[in-house]
Symmetry: C2
Subunit: 109 residues, 2 copies
DNA sequence: TTCTTATATTACCAGATAGTTGTGTAGCGA
DNA sequence: TCGCTACACAACTATCTGGTAATATAAGAA
């Protein structure tokens, strides 16, 4: 798929959904397996409403799936490839840190 | 690298930098090779100041690098792995579209 | 029914962000 | 020197977004 103007927005939306610390923490928590909203609120230290709202974003972008059981909503990762992306970006982060360390060393020899 | 609370923000910043259509278009334009700000403004149809500002974001996150020559700034991709990420997210996008198409079919049989 | 639990939704506010306009700055040719 | 070009930066505005509090919904227990 090429990055045409029309789908640049759709791709950006998917990246934007991952561009939030709380949502990354939610995905990280879900890595252990299916969780309820309450579980996730406890694990991430977030408020119930806030966690629920962030989960809607992840749900809409298809990163997670939902299963209802009584009054409980169980969320789970739909596509583990999201962690491949995290690892890629982590690799870039390492390189970026190295680059910045070198710049600092060059400025303060 | 694990997704601890401390670096969740750093990782999110890197995703957030890609969560903008104009910045994706800039990267796409740079895929052809080194470009000046003027080139990029023309290719993306953005204003000079806006393009320059978005380039700072990509520069700070280490996605692009800059080389100055006279009054011209030449930008280029530093890490082509960003396109691997785009392809991953595009794959997810395809699956997501399929999923939504199936949902529509289920609702309107 | 009434109470409790679990989640979603709404309204609101403070802070962030994209885009534009105008200005500053640096290099270069006339 | 005086423009002219290319870019960066600051200020401003409209819009968006994260967090919270309050409310709505819905299921089950008492």
């Amino acid at each position: 798929m090429e990055l045409s103007d029309s789908n640049a927005s759709a791709i950006a939306e998917r990246f934007k959904a991952l561009g939030e610390p709380m949502r990354l923490r939610l995905l990280q928590a879900l890595r252990a397996g299916e969780c309820s909203v309450g579980d996730l609120a406890e694990r991430t230290g977030g408020g119930q409403a806030n966690v629920s709202k962030h989960l809607q974003v992840l749900l809409q972008q298809g990163y997670v799936d939902r299963r209802k059981e009584g009054t409980t909503s169980w969320y789970r990762i739909t596509d583990p490839q999201v962690f491949t992306m995290c690892e890629l970006v982590c690799g870039g982060l390492e390189e970026e840190l190295d680059r910045k360390r070198k710049l600092l060393r060059r400025r303060k020899p």
